[in-house]
């Protein structure tokens, strides 16, 4: 029971993007297409699971005063691995994500989970927590990018959704569209929460 609870809390009740407001920069920057969103989500999930694993393993040996630099070094190592793997196997994706791959290092979700969860819990639960948070992050990215790509480009994962008469709203692909989309999604979730809490 506890395992599923840890897994699902990252996906809905404390979704890193929509609830905790963490990791907003990549969320808004790479979600102009679903393809990029999946790439970013995958990369971040890998880093999240690996760094949670290592941080949890070394949690007893790291003095609390220098824990943050230690965690950042662990995270940066995995980010470099992802960076090199992506450059080797998915050069196109690597190019379109650009600077945001090295910036996974400072994605607050990852350091946040290392500090708040992995440094206090055993290895198994840390892995589960990393997986849940990673999935939650990826789903959030996919949700935002779905809206933006369909409205702004008329496609989903590169496949056309509407007929040829559809005029895409370019704004949604540009920066303001990202802000509007995430604003409305968070407002919708707030509304949903109030609705369910009133009825129950």
């Amino acid at each position: 029971m506890k395992v599923t609870q840890e897994l699902f809390k990252g996906i809905y009740s404390s979704n890193p993007v929509f609830r905790l407001m963490l990791g907003l920069c990549p969320t808004l920057a790479v979600t102009s297409s679903v393809n990029n969103a999946i790439g970013m989500g995958g990369a971040a999930t890998f880093v999240l699971i690996s760094s949670n694993f290592v941080v949890s393993l070394i949690r007893k040996f790291v003095p609390s005063k220098i824990r943050i630099p230690v965690y950042i070094t662990v995270i940066a190592t995995f980010v470099t691995i992802v960076d090199l793997i992506m450059a080797g196997f998915f050069p196109d994706l690597h190019k379109s994500l650009g600077i945001f791959i090295p910036l996974i290092v400072v994605n607050c979700i990852i350091l946040g989970r290392a500090e708040a969860f992995a440094s206090k819990n055993n290895v198994f639960f840390s892995l589960i927590d990393g997986l849940g948070m990673g999935i939650g992050f990826t789903l959030a990215l996919i949700t935002i990018s779905t809206f933006r790509e369909i409205l702004g480009n008329g496609t989903w994962l590169g496949m056309p959704v509407f007929g040829s008469s559809f005029k895409p709203a370019l704004l949604m692909i540009l920066n303001p569209g990202a802000f509007f989309t995430i604003g409305f999604i968070i407002a919708f979730l707030n509304w949903l929460d109030r609705k369910t809490s009133v009825s129950s």
């Binding site: 407001m21 963490l22 990791g23 907003l24 920069c25 990549p26 808004l28 920057a29 943050i68 630099p69 950042i72 070094t73 940066a76 190592t77 980010v79 470099t80 960076d83 090199l84 650009g98 600077i99 090295p102 910036l103 290092v105 400072v106 994605n107 607050c108 350091l111 704004l171 540009l174 920066n175 303001p176 569209g177 990202a178 802000f179 509007f180 995430i182 604003g183 409305f184 968070i186 407002a187 919708f188 707030n190 509304w191 109030r194």
Partner: protein, 205 residues
């Protein structure tokens, strides 16, 4: 000049490049704290740009100027390519720098430390600082250009943060739908601001 106008208005770090959004949403509730955060970011970002540029050019880049190359290989053979250490070394430099700035401010001005204290550690994970350092390298900026870009990007961040804080202080009083209050409306405002800043992209020199 071109870089300075460019990095404040045309490619504003927050509104056009999406860097540093966490503090942008988190610290923009009050004008005072927004100003403090902005100043801290300008300070750290300028120093970080300079420090990372120096480290990259003289220790990591595969050029004949590389100090490690000169010392350990005595200038013979091919210069080593250490650019894959970029991410790790930059983030450590920034973390050390932030710690250093924190200590200096604590010593020099305890009152400033009181008001900035909680924001300084956050700057380490502010992706704008690392982002600007990486962009300096990616764009092949010279030393002076990196310095100017670092400072001006910080100024652009502060500008966006202060504008946002001013707007949010007003909007607190507005009668909004309950679900929109707080963060959602902040994002909508940011969207409108980003739209306005998009107008600058027509500027050309």
């Amino acid at each position: 000049m071109l870089i300075s106008i460019g990095s404040i208005f045309i490619s504003n770090i927050v509104l056009a490049k999406f860097l540093g959004l966490c503090p942008y949403i988190g610290v923009s509730k009050q004008l005072d704290s927004a100003l403090g955060m902005g100043m801290a970011v300008i300070f750290v970002m300028t120093f970080a740009s300079v420090a990372t540029w120096l480290i990259y050019t003289y220790f990591l880049a595969p050029t004949t100027q590389n100090i490690l190359f000169m010392v350990f290989l005595k200038g013979k053979g091919a210069p080593p390519d250490l650019t894959y250490l970029r991410t790790i070394s930059f983030i450590l430099i920034i973390a050390a720098l932030v710690q250093f700035v924190e200590m200096v401010i604590q010593k020099i001005s305890p009152t400033l430390y009181q008001s900035l204290g909680i924001y300084l550690p956050l700057i380490t994970t502010n992706c704008a600082v690392l982002g600007v350092s990486l962009l300096n390298i990616d764009n092949n900026y010279s030393f002076i250009e990196s310095l100017v870009n670092g400072f001006m990007s910080g100024a652009g961040f502060t500008l966006a943060l202060i504008l946002m804080a001013g707007l949010r202080e007003r909007i607190e009083l507005a009668n909004l739908p309950k679900a929109m209050r707080g963060v959602p409306i902040a994002f909508i405002i940011a969207g409108c601001m980003s739209l306005a800043f998009l107008g600058f992209s027509g500027l050309s020199f």
